[in-house]
Symmetry: C2
Subunit: 312 residues, 2 copies
């Protein structure tokens, strides 16, 4: 089949909601194949505008996967198609993205309207941000009303990925000691909603108080017991109400634009990184300064002097 026909067929199936075509489209973009840009340009813009992306982050063990699964359950009850992007930062040593598998296995393995994609960071956050953004849009074009992006961890990296989404959720649980205690205030400035999961466990109230008075009293803090689906329906309502609020203001568009800018920078760096690595590893090896900073300047000035073109 010709590339043009292949593209047309892929886009047609993708927009009909065919899961395998969604997966294939994401791979073609992720692997930076020639079809990638054409796929992205062929996506139904209206569906991209309608879809809501939700970033879910939190430390390991807070119950993010269970919570995600509960949200998916409620969304499916409403007949809405859902996308899940699971970013697993530890997958280099674990030999594969566990998170996605865990979610997949839980409840929705046979449901065609739950699209799951796992991504490994491979140490390059930028690459994941770029890929996750593309995956979000492809899932949206395939008819997903909500796309959940789940990352493990509470560091800046995870927050960065989560902040690609329109709305950001932080999931905590009682009993996590130092790591969470240390966060204290300021959490509500970084995330839109704070979920205290496993709220039936001892220490739930203490966690809230430890996080600060402002947090404890905020209506942007919710308690859930995701394993029992307690509070999770309310959480979904709150997410959708927050969406309505954002869409009524300029804020929604501004958030989308910020994500787009960030993704563009990440893609730029992805595109230039391979070239830089080649240059450093091969040609320049002997002539480079022993100070990496000075060597970097040599490499860059050479790259720029030669005005290498980055074509599709």
């Amino acid at each position: 089949m010709q590339p043009a026909q292949l593209l047309e067929q892929l886009l047609e199936r993708l927009h009909r909601g065919d899961s395998r075509s969604v997966a294939r489209a994401i791979s073609l973009v992720e692997d930076q194949t020639e079809l990638g840009p054409a796929i992205m340009q062929g996506l139904d813009q209206q569906r991209l505008d309608t879809a809501l992306t939700v970033g879910i982050t939190g430390p390991p063990g807070a119950g993010k996967s269970t919570l995600t699964s509960a949200l998916v359950h409620h969304l499916r009850e409403q007949g809405l198609r859902v996308g899940i992007i699971a970013v697993d930062p530890s997958s280099s040593l674990t030999q594969g993205a566990l998170l996605g598998d865990r979610i997949r296995m839980m409840d929705h393995a046979l449901d065609r309207d739950v699209v799951v994609r796992s991504m490994a960071t491979r140490g390059r956050l930028g690459g994941v941000c770029a890929s996750a953004g593309a995956a979000m849009r492809i899932m949206a074009a395939s008819g997903c009303r909500i796309i959940l992006i789940e990352t493990v961890g509470i560091g800046q990296s995870e927050m960065d990925i989560a902040s690609l989404a329109d709305i950001t959720l932080l999931v905590l649980a009682p009993g996590f000691g130092d790591d969470i205690q240390a966060m204290k205030a300021g959490i509500l400035e970084v995330v839109d909603l704070l979920v205290i999961n496993k709220a039936d466990m001892p220490g739930s109230r203490k966690l809230l108080l430890d996080l600060g008075r402002e947090t404890a009293n905020s209506d942007r803090v919710l308690e859930t017991v995701a394993s029992e689906r307690q509070g999770t329906e309310t959480l979904l309502e709150r997410i959708l109400a927050f969406e309505t609020e954002l869409r009524q203001e300029e804020e929604f568009k501004q958030r989308r634009q910020r994500s787009l800018n960030k993704e563009t920078v990440d893609w730029s760096i992805e595109l230039i990184r391979a070239r830089l690595t080649d240059l450093v590893d091969n040609e320049f090896l002997t002539g480079l300064d022993q100070d990496p900073r000075a060597a970097a300047e040599q490499v860059l000035s050479d790259v720029l002097r030669n005005s290498l073109t980055f074509q599709r």
Copy 2:
């Protein structure tokens, strides 16, 4: 004072081992000031060659800080000056690098021959790799015989930072469940030494067996109880023996060169990132393609067409 005098004085004090000058030099390089490159070029190359850098990584709670503190204790008993670089990936939410503070407070707060530096990743791994490399060399030039680089986590990012070092250590502890279970084999291909800390806790033997037969039988696996300094002196001996082994082969030089190449790529990306972000955020905002990948190509081709120069 003139910059040239300032530089001379700073380098002189740094090479005498003055901790404040070490801290200042690292900041000047980290902040990409004009003096940065001159500082790096003025460092005593022989001390850089003699120093050994050790990367220590592992999940939160495995006892890395306690282990690091024990190693520092033994090194100080031998009269050796030590540097510690603590990279804290979660410091965006925790509002500061906790790890370094924890180590600092432990034992060596008043010891002038223990130099501690904390670094936050701020979501940009490359920036930390670049800064950590510079800090390593500045500490080495100040007379540190051993520089320990500690990172929290077992993901690729942390391994990347740890692998800037000559020798890499992974610290695990019994009872960490899924995260570690999932690693299984392959660990010994990624790290040089595997430390099972808290080896007096139940489950230590099970952890070893879970990690695979090869791991359980390897002489590159050591058991410690860092809080009691059990096994930590043996660990230090093993590290130094491994150093001798590496130095007798070409491997030591090759590892250094690989780190240098990696740091050079990271610096190149750091230097170009700010420019790209400015371009995307400002000038190009309106004219850019809505697909970030396509937009990135526009940005890059413009950057390269104009042959912007990156000067010190």
